[in-house]
Symmetry: C2
């Protein structure tokens, strides 16, 4: 894997879950859209660009990824079922086997923060706090499995970026 | 300990070490001052305030802490020899035993990032990257030893804040 950096981005603030609602279709709220856009603009301002941008197909994640793309962080949005709630880190990594440079995954909690723990410490202790529209940044090892071998260089809630 | 949050802040960019120079007296560069001030202002804008602000007495750290205070993040700057390079986490925690709310420690690498690892995972694996003028934010447990029991909610390099 020639990935150098992996970003894990949680979807923005979405409407409340309805008892009989379809959880997959809940959109971002107006505040969720604005905050996600402000985060994206700050990442762009800092010079960040993603070579790959992959999202959970669930509406609130997909909408978040589209905002990131529209703000100039990536050229295209890909979807992956492995990023749905309760997704599969190993499959996500396999799908990035040919990726180079920086990739970003847009998805859900507690998946993303526990994936980060597995990548950095190869153990899950639920010690990372990833807010909605928050961003984790991981440095990848040059070769071999990234599990337990990544560096953590970024973990930021949106309120510090906007 | 009634601390709720502990921030670990690395000193800003300082001049290069001189072969015969006194390492304790190296000041921040002009760019180091500007970047540290920009970070401080963004933290203030996000609503952050420190109830205690303690710094290493080494010039580049002390100067960083004074900038944080002058920008409104804290009322006063305290100095502690336990924050010098190669300092002592346990002594720093002891000196905060009576602290409440949010405390910030300004110091050096690799001390601060390894302290964060001890506080969060009770193990040092050198997996956290803390840039100059970068900030780590830890959530403290309500009671008992914080070692291996803190949450990590913030790890940010200055380039994302300015």
């Amino acid at each position: 894997m020639a990935l150098t950096e992996l970003y894990l981005i949680r979807h923005g603030l979405a409407g409340t879950r309805q008892p009989a609602g379809d959880d997959e279709r809940r959109p971002l709220t107006g505040a969720g859209v604005r905050r996600t856009r402000a985060v994206a603009r700050q990442l762009v301002r800092a010079g960040l660009r993603f070579d790959r941008l992959v999202t959970s197909p669930v509406a609130r994640a997909r909408q978040t990824a589209v905002i990131l793309r529209d703000c100039g962080l990536a050229r295209a949005v890909e979807e992956s079922d492995h990023l749905r709630p309760g997704g599969n880190l190993r499959r996500c990594l396999e799908s990035l086997a040919e990726a180079e440079g920086r990739a970003a995954l847009v998805g859900h909690e507690p998946d993303l923060s526990t994936w980060a723990e597995r990548l950095v410490w190869n153990a899950v202790r639920h010690r990372l706090v990833l807010k909605k529209a928050g961003v984790i940044g991981l440095g990848f090892p040059g070769e071999g499995s990234p599990l337990g071998r990544c560096q953590l260089f970024l973990l930021v809630p949106p309120r510090l970026l906007v």
